[in-house]
C-alpha cells in the first residue's frame, strides 16, 4: 500500500477512527494487525519472512537477557546477527555475488555454470532486518532489557509507518513508547497532518514531477547533451531527496498523529557544508545505525589515523551495499567514504575553524555547501545509473564541451516545473531554519489554515498522480 495512493488514504482514515477508540492490549493488537494488513497489501506471502525475523529475535533476545554466561550470550547474539544477515544475503545479495563470481571466473578462464535464482526481494527487508538485529545487539550489550511481550516486540518490528522504508527505529527509543498508551492530542494531530502534507508536497509535487525527465536521461544518455544531462542529475538529487524525505515525513506525521515519535530522518541535507555534516542530515537513522553498530565496533577513530580511514571506507562501502546488490551502489559508498577521508585529511591542513572570524566563515560557507553538493551529485550519478558504463557515459558527456548543448533540452515543461519545485523547496527549508514552523502551526490557527489550504491547492494543481513508487522501497 503506497502512502500516495487512494487505498492508503482510506486505510489511514479507517485505522485512526478505530485506533483511538480502543484501549490497552486491544489498541496494540489492532495496531499490529493493521501493520500486517498494510504489509500484506503488496504480497501476503512476504509476511512469513517478517514473522520469522520477529520470532527469531524475540526468542534470542529473551535468551540473551536471561543468560549470564558471556560465552552463551556471545553465541546467541552471533546467531541472531548471522541468521539476519543470512536472510538478507539470500534475498538481497545471492544473485549479485553469484553473478559477480561467475563473471570473475569467466575472466580468469574458469567458466562456471549459471547458478542465479529467481528471488523476489521482500519489500522493506533491509529496514526491518537492521532494526530487529539492533534489538538483539542492544540486549547483548545490556543497553536495554529484553521485551517480554511478543505483541509489543512484533509491533516494534512491524509498526506500519516505518516498515517498508524506515526510519530504522532504535529499540531503546521506540519500545518504551509501546509501554505507555498513546492518547489523541490535538497538537500532535495538527503537527502530524502538517508533516504528512509536507511529505506529500515533496513526493507528489516535486519528486514525481521530475521523474519522467530523469528516466529519459538515464535511459539514453547518449541521446542528450551535457546540459540536458546536468539538469537530469540536478533533478535526481532533488527527486531522491523529495521521494525519500517525503516518505519519511509522511511516516513521521502518521506516527505523530498516533502519538508516537519515530524521529526525523532528514534535516535539510543539501545545506551541509561538509560530508560529515551531510551524513548527520541525510538518512539519519541509517547513518546512526552504521555508526553505532559498524563504525564504532570496528574501532571508530580510536585506533590511529590509518585505521580510522579504513573504518570510514568499510562503513561507507557496506552502507552503499546496503542499498542494493549492484556495483553502482558500491561505488557510491566508496565515493562517500573517500570524501569523508579527504575531509579528515584536509581538516588537518587548516581552513576556517570555529575559532576563525564569523565573517570569514559566512563568506566561505556558500562555497563549501556548493562543493559538497556538486560532489554528492557525482556520487548520485552512480547511485541512479543502471550500471557503471551508463554512469561513466553520463559524467563524460557532462564534462565534454563539444556535446554540451547537443540535442537541446527535452521535456521543457518538466524542466520548468522541476526548477519551480526546487525553488519552493529550498526557500521552504531555508525558512524552516529561521522560524519554528511546527510551533507556529500549533499556536496560530490562521497560519494553520493558510498552510494547510495552500498545501492542498498546490498538491491538486502541481502534483503528479500517476502512482509513482517510492525509490527506497527497492532497498
Amino acid at each position: 500500500m503506497l502512502f500516495n495512493s487512494l487505498p492508503f488514504l482510506v486505510f489511514i482514515s479507517a485505522f485512526l477512527s478505530v485506533f483511538f477508540l480502543l484501549r490497552g492490549v486491544g489498541k496494540l493488537g489492532f495496531l499490529l494487525l493493521s501493520s500486517y494488513l498494510f504489509y500484506a497489501w503488496w504480497d501476503w506471502r512476504l509476511l512469513g519472512l517478517l514473522w520469522l525475523t520477529t520470532f527469531l529475535d524475540y526468542s534470542l533476545g529473551l535468551a540473551i537477557d536471561d543468560t549470564h554466561s558471556p560465552t552463551i550470550r556471545n553465541r546467541l547474539v552471533t546467531g541472531s546477527v548471522a541468521v539476519n544477515l543470512l536472510i538478507l544475503g539470500i534475498f538481497k545479495y545471492y544473485n549479485f555475488f553469484i553473478d559477480s563470481l561467475t563473471e570473475l571466473m569467466a575472466v580468469i578462464g574458469c567458466p562456471m555454470g549459471h547458478h542465479s535464482m529467481r528471488i523476489v526481494l521482500p519489500i522493506g527487508i533491509s529496514f526491518y532486518t537492521f532494526m530487529s538485529m539492533s534489538y538483539t545487539i542492544d540486549v547483548y550489550r545490556r543497553r536495554i532489557r529484553a521485551e517480554r511481550s511478543l505483541l509489543r516486540f512484533a509491533t516494534f518490528v512491524a509498526f506500519f509507518p516505518h516498515l517498508v522504508a524506515g526510519p530504522i527505529l532504535r529499540p531503546e527509543h521506540f519500545l518504551p513508547q509501546l509501554h505507555r498508551e498513546p492518547r489523541f492530542q490535538w497538537d500532535q494531530a495538527i503537527t502530524g497532518i502538517g508533516w504528512m502534507l509536507m511529505g506529500y508536497l515533496k513526493k507528489v509535487v516535486m519528486a514525481d514531477s521530475m521523474s519522467p525527465y530523469i528516466d529519459r536521461i538515464f535511459e539514453s544518455p547518449r541521446a542528450h547533451g551535457g546540459a540536458a544531462i546536468l539538469i537530469g542529475l540536478l533533478f535526481y538529487a532533488f527527486q531522491i531527496y523529495g521521494d525519500f524525505s517525503g516518505y519519511s515525513d509522511i511516516a513521521y506525521g502518521v506516527a505523530r498523529i498516533m502519538g508516537f515519535d519515530i524521529g526525523r530522518n532528514f534535516r535539510s541535507p543539501y545545506f551541509s557544508a561538509s560530508f560529515s555534516e551531510f551524513w548527520q542530515r541525510w538518512h539519519i537513522s541509517l547513518s546512526g545505525w552504521l555508526r553505532d553498530y559498524l563504525y564504532i565496533p570496528l574501532g571508530g577513530n580510536r585506533r590511529g589515523t590509518m585505521r580510522t580511514y579504513a573504518n570510514l571506507m568499510t562503513t561507507m562501502l557496506l552502507g552503499g551495499l546496503w542499498h542494493g546488490a549492484n556495483w553502482t551502489f558500491v561505488i557510491w559508498g566508496f565515493l562517500h567514504g573517500f570524501y569523508l577521508v579527504i575531509q579528515r585529511l584536509m581538516s588537518g591542513l587548516g581552513g576556517p575553524s570555529s575559532n576563525s572570524p564569523v565573517i570569514l566563515r559566512k563568506w566561505i560557507q556558500p562555497f563549501q555547501v556548493s562543493l559538497v553538493f556538486v560532489l554528492v551529485l557525482v556520487a548520485w550519478t552512480f547511485f541512479r545509473s543502471p550500471n557503471l558504463t551508463t554512469a561513466l557515459i553520463i559524467l563524460q558527456r557532462v564534462c565534454n564541451p563539444g556535446t554540451f548543448l547537443a540535442g537541446g533540452i527535452p521535456f521543457l515543461y518538466f524542466v520548468v516545473k522541476g526548477f519551480i519545485c526546487i525553488g519552493f523547496l529550498v526557500s521552504g527549508e531555508f525558512a524552516a531554519t529561521r522560524f519554528d514552523l511546527e510551533r507556529t502551526l500549533v499556536k496560530s490557527p490562521t497560519f494553520r489554515v493558510v498552510m494547510f489550504s495552500s498545501a492542498l491547492c498546490i498538491i491538486a494543481f502541481l502534483g503528479s498522480f500517476e502512482g509513482g513508487q517510492f525509490i527506497y522501497f527497492q532497498f
Partner: protein, 294 residues
C-alpha cells in the same frame, strides 16, 4: 489550543474556495489562449482544412504554410501523445464546432499503437466536450471524479501550462529546430514494434472517424508521415500494414514513411524538424493530398 477541528474544517473549506476561484480564472485563461485546443473549444476556430494526429502530426504538418499556399484556412490539431481514440474525439468535436471544414488530413501513427500511452492532459478541456468527459469516465473514473472535486486538478496538465505561453500568439508555427544526432541514430530499435496488422482499437477509432466525416460530407486523407530510415525496422512489414488498413477500412492511406531520408530534416527518429516539416508539407501539396482548392 481551542477547538482546533474548526481550523481543520476551515482549511478544507478555504482550499475548496481557492480551488474554485483560481480554477475559474485559470480555466478562463485556458480558453483565452491561442493554443490549438483552446482555439477549438472556445468556438473561435474557423478553418477549411484540419490536420490531426499525435506529436508526429504536430511536428510534421505546417499549417501556416498550407494556408499561405492554398489561400484557405488550415489548422493543426495534432498534439503530443494523443491516442487514436482521442484523435477520434477531437475530430468529432471539430466537425461539430468548426464551420465550413472541407478537408481533414489525419496522420495515422497514433492509431497503430497497440498499448497507447493514456495521457491525462486532455482533462483540462473536459468541461467543454461531452465526448472527452465520457472518455475519461470510461478509461479513468478516478480522474473523472477528481476533476469534479478539484478544478485546479483539472488544470494540472502540461497542455494547460503550455497554453499560457500562447496567450498573445498562435502556436501553429511551433516546431523542433534541432537535427537528429549520431547517438540517437545509433540507438537500437530492437524487435519490430509494429506488426503487419492494425490493432482492433485503432481500427475501430479510425473507422468511426471516417464514418462521421462521411456523414458530414468532409473528405479525409490518411497519411503516414516520414520516419528516419533507422526507425523503419520497427515495422515488421510497413507496406503490409498500410494494405491491411486500406483493406479493413476501404480507404486509401498514403505512405510517406520512407519518403524523406536525409538527416537534416529529422529532429529525432520519429519527428521531423522545422526543415522536415516544410519539406513534408510541400510534398503533401504537390502530391495533391492537400489540393490547392480544397
Amino acid at each position: 489550543m481551542r477547538k482546533p477541528w474548526i481550523s481543520l474544517l476551515l482549511s478544507i473549506l478555504v482550499a475548496l474556495a481557492v480551488d474554485r476561484t483560481l480554477g475559474y480564472f485559470l480555466g478562463h485563461l485556458l480558453l483565452e489562449s491561442h493554443s490549438r485546443l483552446s482555439e477549438l473549444y472556445s468556438g473561435r476556430l474557423k478553418s477549411e482544412v484540419l490536420l490531426f494526429g499525435n506529436s508526429r502530426a504536430l511536428q510534421g504538418f505546417d499549417a501556416p504554410l498550407v494556408a499561405r499556399t492554398i489561400g484557405a484556412g488550415c489548422f493543426n490539431l495534432g498534439y503530443n501523445g494523443l491516442t487514436g481514440e482521442q484523435v477520434e474525439i477531437l475530430a468529432k468535436d471539430a466537425l461539430e464546432q468548426v464551420p465550413g471544414v472541407r478537408l481533414m488530413v489525419v496522420e495515422v501513427s497514433c492509431f497503430l499503437e497497440r498499448a497507447p500511452l493514456e495521457t491525462s492532459d486532455l482533462k483540462s478541456y473536459s468541461p467543454y466536450s461531452r465526448r472527452l468527459q465520457q472518455y475519461m469516465y470510461l478509461h479513468s473514473p478516478h480522474r473523472f471524479w477528481a476533476c469534479k472535486l478539484s478544478w485546479l486538478y483539472r488544470l494540472n496538465s502540461e497542455i494547460f501550462f503550455r497554453s499560457l505561453a500562447y496567450l498573445t500568439h498562435s502556436d501553429q508555427s511551433h516546431g523542433m529546430a534541432q537535427t537528429i544526432t549520431p547517438e540517437v541514430k545509433s540507438m537500437p530499435v530492437g524487435k519490430p514494434l509494429y506488426p503487419s496488422e492494425i490493432g482492433e482499437g485503432g481500427c475501430d477509432a479510425l473507422r468511426h472517424l471516417l464514418d462521421v466525416a462521411e456523414k458530414n460530407h468532409v473528405p479525409v486523407q490518411l497519411v503516414l508521415a516520414p520516419y528516419h530510415p533507422t526507425f523503419l525496422p520497427a515495422f515488421a512489414d510497413i507496406s503490409g500494414l498500410m494494405s491491411d488498413i486500406e483493406r479493413k477500412l476501404g480507404h486509401k492511406v498514403t505512405n510517406y514513411a520512407g519518403r524523406l531520408s536525409e538527416d537534416g530534416v529529422f529532429a529525432d527518429r520519429l519527428h521531423l524538424n522545422l526543415n522536415g516539416k516544410d519539406r513534408f508539407t510541400r510534398l503533401l501539396i504537390s502530391d495533391g493530398i492537400i489540393p490547392l482548392k480544397p
